[in-house]
């Protein structure tokens, strides 16, 4: 009975997973394909010069016409994490709390599987759902080499890993809140709000002076906000993101053990 619950949940989410992946492929391909039209347009760099806070709000920092600057501003600092978080927070909130509200959670909690095992299976499904969008984006960017958009492979793998881990972190947060409260709405709300706040901190920190120290508190900083596309994912980045995931997973197990399943 290896990971039957993981397989079941992935099957139930198949359609949205495919939809989001197809969407990001189209979007990422367009971003890559129009790069040649912008790469010599230095006026574009005026937009982010001298620390424009509005540009930073949308994730654009630094020169936009370099390959890394272009990909950060259009993909990795905003859209790719957003889509991955939509998937993982949505699943994290539905995996325990949402299925309990639907009444289907009792189907699996009355099978001979421990609650710890169920959470482990759900975390595996969560991890797998963070992969397709991140991986598809990476493949599109690799195609971008043909459009003069060359970034280091190490950086590309690093930022892709960062996005996956970021998705797991916030998905695990939604899972843990759902396990503690039994409410999909609460899990969705708190996790989305936390993600939005962390995104703002990480994006605005480079231009808003007093926010600068706060960026260390945002998982976005360790995934996409600290030049990962240029230099790869550092061991520190990986350790921080993995530690957050582990702590939230343990909390989810502890909370689910106490949850009354309907």
């Amino acid at each position: 009975m290896p990971a039957e619950v993981t397989a079941l949940d992935l099957r139930l989410r198949r359609r949205s997973l495919l939809g989001y992946t197809a969407g990001i492929v189209v979007y990422a391909f367009v971003v890559v394909a129009i790069y040649p039209a912008f790469k010599d347009d230095t006026s574009l760099n005026q937009f982010t010069k001298n620390g424009n806070a509005v540009a930073a709000l949308f994730g654009a920092n630094g020169p936009l016409t370099t390959p890394a600057g272009w990909l950060n501003a259009n993909l990795y600092a905003n859209f790719v994490p957003l889509i991955v978080l939509l998937l993982t927070i949505g699943y994290g909130a539905s995996a325990l709390a949402g299925q309990d509200e639907d009444g289907t959670l009792s189907l699996i909690t009355t099978l001979p599987l421990s609650r710890r095992r169920l959470v482990a299976d759900k975390l595996a499904a969560l991890t797998l759902q963070a992969v397709p969008v991140s991986l598809a984006t990476m493949l599109c960017v690799l195609i971008g080499h043909g459009f003069g958009l060359s970034v280091s492979t190490n950086g590309l793998i690093g930022v892709t890993l960062g996005v996956v881990l970021l998705g797991i972190d916030f998905g695990a947060l939604a899972l843990a809140i759902g396990a503690a409260t039994g409410s999909r709405g609460t899990a969705l709300g708190i996790s989305s709000a936390t993600a939005a706040l962390c995104y703002l901190i990480s994006s605005l920190a480079p231009v808003v002076h007093w926010l600068h120290p706060a960026r260390y508190a945002s998982p976005f900083f360790y995934a996409v906000g600290d030049g990962q596309l240029n230099r790869g994912l550092s061991p520190t980045d990986a350790i921080v993101l993995l530690t957050v995931a582990a702590a939230l997973s343990i909390s989810a197990v502890a909370a689910f053990d106490r949850l009354d399943v309907h």
Partner: protein, 305 residues
């Protein structure tokens, strides 16, 4: 007789609401135990406590010799459960549900499962969301029975089934206990209980009001006797008898509920020159309804019997 379910002093509180309170009963191997009560009485809450889905506020539960708060996996391996409000995955077919459960359980006799599917003529190849409540219920029943569990815990099992399938269900239950396995079922339908149950407990407002065999309850159930007289009479003569309750009295007709011997009432009727008498035998429905409607204290319950 080995004990399959043992419950003692079981209570469960949600916030300030006491869903069940000091519930206790014992179910032995090879019997069909009915758990009866009106909607919202605490039947499903008790069942979820037996299965370790809920955590008890206080009290002791043992299922198949194990504690559901500690050994829940071992219990689930040997139990088949049908939830009261069965929710399946809307997008999946019945077959996908059965295959999933079989893969997780790992020890399913597929021939037996197919026989069950045939007996209930369950529709397996359409997405569950397109099925009627009765057709979903059939899938739930196959899910509960297919691994030949030692104990079946069924919450309102025949809800939505037509009379033919209810009869088929009753046969399946009898076969199951004939093999020495045990069935615990909740219901608010008296018919179902009279048809399949050996022993039962009635729960009302979270408390057990009576536990007995169906035969024992039948003996205690009130008989209805109606006398017809030539003239209007005063029913007080009947009302003061022990074990007699005047149901109605008008135009020389008196309807009585008898729980004691018939002699005294017959003597009073004879003295009043009764013209006619009709009697209806023990009526379980009437007895259940008294338990459902009122809040009988222990003393009233004893008096009623």
């Amino acid at each position: 007789m080995s004990v399959v379910i043992e419950v003692e002093g079981l209570s469960k509180t949600f916030g300030n609401v006491r869903a069940v309170s000091d519930v206790g009963f014992t179910v032995t191997a090879g019997e069909v135990f009915g758990f009866l009560g009106p909607n919202g009485a605490g039947k499903s809450t008790t069942i979820r406590l037996l299965l370790g889905l809920y955590h008890a506020t206080s009290g002791r539960v043992s299922v198949l010799g194990r504690d559901p708060t500690r050994d829940v996996v071992a219990i689930h391996r040997r139990v088949g459960y049908l939830p009261g409000e069965l929710a399946l995955y809307p997008k999946l077919t019945g077959r996908q549900h059965l295959d999933f459960a079989a893969r997780v359980r790992g020890e399913v006799d597929h021939a037996y499962r197919d026989r069950l599917v045939d007996r209930f003529s369950a529709e397996l190849d359409r997405p569950v969301r397109t099925l009627s409540k009765g057709n979903r219920q059939k899938i739930g029943l196959v899910l509960a029975f297919m691994h030949r569990p030692d104990l079946l815990i069924l919450d309102e099992p025949t809800a939505g089934l037509d009379p033919l399938l209810q009869e088929e269900f009753a046969r399946l239950v009898r076969e199951t206990v004939a093999e020495g396995r045990t069935v615990f079922l909740s219901s608010h339908e008296l018919d179902e209980v009279q048809r399949v149950v050996d022993r039962l407990a009635i729960i009302k407002d979270g408390k057990i009001v009576v536990t007995d065999t169906v035969e024992g309850l039948r003996r205690a159930a009130p008989r209805t006797v109606e006398f017809t007289f030539a003239h209007p009479i005063d029913p007080a003569a009947f009302a003061e008898l022990d074990g007699v309750h005047v149901l109605s009295s008008a135009d020389g007709r008196v309807r009585l509920a008898l729980t004691g011997p018939a002699g005294p009432a017959l003597r009073v009727a004879a003295d009043l020159d009764a013209l006619d008498v009709t009697a209806r035998s023990a009526d379980l429905d009437e007895l259940f309804l008294t338990y459902y409607r009122e809040h009988p204290t222990e003393r009233e319950v004893r008096d009623a019997r």
